[in-house]
């Protein structure tokens, strides 16, 4: 499984892709595989302000529930509403169509503290 090198990772298996000051957050393919079939996604409200390392969403599978943490502080500007009816998008394409939410980051440099793709691959091996 390829871990995209254009983004950062948290040890709790979220990925963070920075474009301008917008950070897109998703769950890694490794995490989606471990959770098995995802059946439900609980997304936050757009406009909500969040702190760093806060739980912003929940992903539920037939096996377990996983909490999604922010890697940056900021405001939620968009959530992936396609997941409401098709949560399996996370299983099918975790790094692209399965994205969860977008945050306008107060300070995008906070992402520098997170893991690179290489470090994350080591973390899960």
């Amino acid at each position: 499984m390829k871990t995209p090198s254009d983004r950062r990772y948290r040890e709790t298996h979220e990925w963070f892709l920075l474009e301008g000051d917008i950070v897109t957050i998703g769950l890694t393919a490794h995490a989606a595989d471990e959770l098995t079939d995802i059946t439900y996604v609980d997304l936050p409200e757009v406009g909500k302000t969040v702190a760093i390392d806060e739980v912003v969403a929940e992903v539920e599978s037939v096996k377990a529930t996983a909490e999604i943490y922010t890697g940056v502080a900021g405001q939620i500007v968009e959530v992936n509403t396609a997941l409401v009816d098709n949560p399996e998008l996370i299983n099918d394409d975790a790094f692209n169509d399965g994205w969860l939410l977008k945050i306008r980051a107060d300070s995008p440099t906070a992402l520098d503290d997170l893991m690179s793709a290489k470090a994350y691959e080591k973390h899960i091996s």
Binding site: T12, H13, E14, A31, E34, L35, D37, T39, Y40, V59, E60, S61, V62, K63, A64, T65, A66, E67, I68, Y69, P87, E88
Partner: protein, 529 residues
């Protein structure tokens, strides 16, 4: 997420078994071949294996279970008394069926249900022990069963004395100062305990918001924090399952209200660092909350109050043999240390100086009432019957046997399954199937156990790919050995016949269900054709 699969969805094991019912017999089966040959002999599937219609499909128009006498009330024209727009255009589709067929319908369904009365139920973290029949006899005594909560105190002295004695016994077992019997379940006890903790800090003008929770905690712990407007912060565990004290120290601060801990914890070991944990919290002005889910391992051996706990809840259905109802009723008594007594819920059952019993409302700093009337009285009577029938030595014996049974199973299973956390264990342990490249998952093992007449253990929690096994003290050596035999047979199947596992169960009325579809597109409504 704190760690993958660290917390179960609502309740994994229940989800797992909701659509799966009883195996045909309690005897272990040897495999599909023997199953199909025995079916071939009898031609038809055994009664319990047959598909069963819903009540609406039984009966016929005009059939009825009752015959009413002629009405003495004059009938009225409903069109003249009820506005037309409120009248239904057709009658509701209710089943028409005779009484005996209704009885048979529900009896058949009951026989398909899995219960501790019929089969082994090693459901880790849930303590599925036998519910002694004497509890039921006692709870059914008219003096207990036929009371009304509005009766005068003088009429219900016997019940009040029982509740008073029970709360004193539970305080003694906890090593704490006083107990409230009001909470109606374990999670309700957690909420009550957190409210008491909140009241304590408020009383000291310290608005502490943070609750620490180990990553091995039950999912109810952070949920209770959220319910009580507190934020839960995860504390890491070491590889041996104990709390990482350095991580704890780095997270305790002046905003920390308490830590919620389960000890013995959910990976099956007693955390010997509990004294240090209590010290770290107390020095920072925080309190230690114990989730009493695993009290079955320590009754009469150690007491939470003696290892630094300030407040805890019991689950009477786990520890004191009250039935695990289908979602209730439960009871989750809360025990507190001396300094938290002023905040306990009211009314509290008391013994007055003249020797009579009554309800005390006079507790100015109380958090108030957390349950209508006085709690789940019928459940509490059963818990009291259990405690009194065993006595001090008997309760200690319960825990010693529960611990012995768990360690015996771990020792025997350790040859064929991975034991990720080293023992010795408390009353439960986690084990991981050695799947190799067979593709067999813990889910397949759990399903296959159904074919052996054994309830699946708790799965995939608190660590990935695991089965959490808790035999309890009420199983005989023969039953424990039978379970090991079944597990070893399954370990053989992983190596030689994984397909039989991937398609299990084979002997239940409902075979492998599509859990993904059941979760994503649940269809639980019956409609007339």
């Amino acid at each position: 997420m704190s760690s993958i699969a660290s917390r179960p969805a609502a309740d994994i094991t229940k989800k797992e078994t909701a659509t799966v019912t009883v195996p045909v017999s309690g005897r272990p089966v040897k495999g599909i071949e023997s199953a199909s040959s025995s079916q071939a002999m009898s031609k038809k599937p055994r009664l319990q294996q047959r598909d069963h219609p819903v009540l609406f499909e039984l009966g016929a128009p005009g059939l009825s279970g009752v015959s009413l006498p002629p009405s003495e009330v004059p009938s009225v024209d409903r069109a003249k008394t009820i506005p037309a727009e409120l009248l239904a255009s057709e009658l509701p589709a209710l089943p028409e069926i005779g009484e005996l067929d209704v009885v048979r319908h529900y009896k058949r369904l009951a026989h398909r249900c899995f219960s501790i009365d019929e089969n082994f139920y090693p459901l880790g973290s849930c303590t599925m022990k036998y519910n002694p029949r004497v509890n039921e006899r006692v709870a059914a005594l008219p003096g207990f069963a036929h009371l009304h909560p509005y009766q005068r105190e003088s009429d219900v002295q016997g019940m009040l004395e029982l509740l008073y004695r029970l709360r004193c016994d539970l305080a003694e077992i906890a090593g704490l100062a006083e107990v409230s019997l009001q909470p109606a379940a374990g999670a309700h006890g957690e909420m009550t305990g957190l409210m008491i903790i909140g009241a304590y800090h408020r009383h000291r003008n310290e608005p502490r918001k943070k609750i620490l929770v180990p990553d091995t905690a039950h999912g109810t712990n952070p949920a209770s924090c959220a319910t009580c407007d507190r934020s839960a912060m995860t504390v890491r565990s070491r590889p041996d399952g104990r709390v990482d004290l350095d991580d704890l120290r780095s997270k305790v601060d002046t905003d920390t209200a308490a830590m919620m801990i389960t000890n013995p914890n959910t990976v099956g070991v007693f955390d010997e660092g509990i004294g240090d944990i209590a010290d770290i919290l107390h020095k920072a002005g925080a309190l230690l909350y114990l989730d009493g889910a695993n009290m079955n391992a320590i009754l009469g051996i150690t007491r939470p109050g003696d290892f630094g706990v300030d407040v805890m809840h019991y689950n009477t259905h786990k520890t004191f043999s009250t039935p695990h109802g289908g979602g209730g009723p439960g009871a989750g008594p809360v025990a507190v240390a001396e300094k938290l007594r002023p905040f306990l819920p009211v009314p509290q059952v008391i013994k007055r100086d003249d020797g009579t019993f009554g309800w005390d409302e006079n507790r100015p700093s109380t958090i108030g009432k957390v349950r209508s009337f006085y709690g789940q009285i019928g459940v509490l009577v059963r818990a009291y019957a259990y405690i009194r029938s065993l006595g001090c030595d008997g309760l200690r014996d319960v825990s010693e046997k529960a611990v012995l049974a768990a360690n015996y199973l771990a020792a025997r299973l350790g040859e064929r399954f991975t034991l990720p956390i080293p023992g010795p264990y408390a009353h439960e342990f986690i084990t991981v199937p050695i799947a190799g490249d067979s593709g067999v998952t813990e889910n397949d093992v759990a399903k296959r156990l159904l074919d052996h007449g054994i309830h699946p253990p708790t799965m995939s929690w608190p660590i990935q790919h695991c089965l959490m096994i808790e035999p309890t003290e009420t199983e005989s050596l023969a039953t424990l050995d039978g379970f090991v035999d079944a597990m070893i047979e399954i370990a053989d199947e992983i190596e030689h016949d994984p397909e039989v596992l991937r398609t299990a169960p084979h002997m239940t009325p409902v075979k492998r269900v599509d859990e993904v579809a059941a979760n994503r597109r649940p269809n639980v409504r019956w409609r007339a054709e």
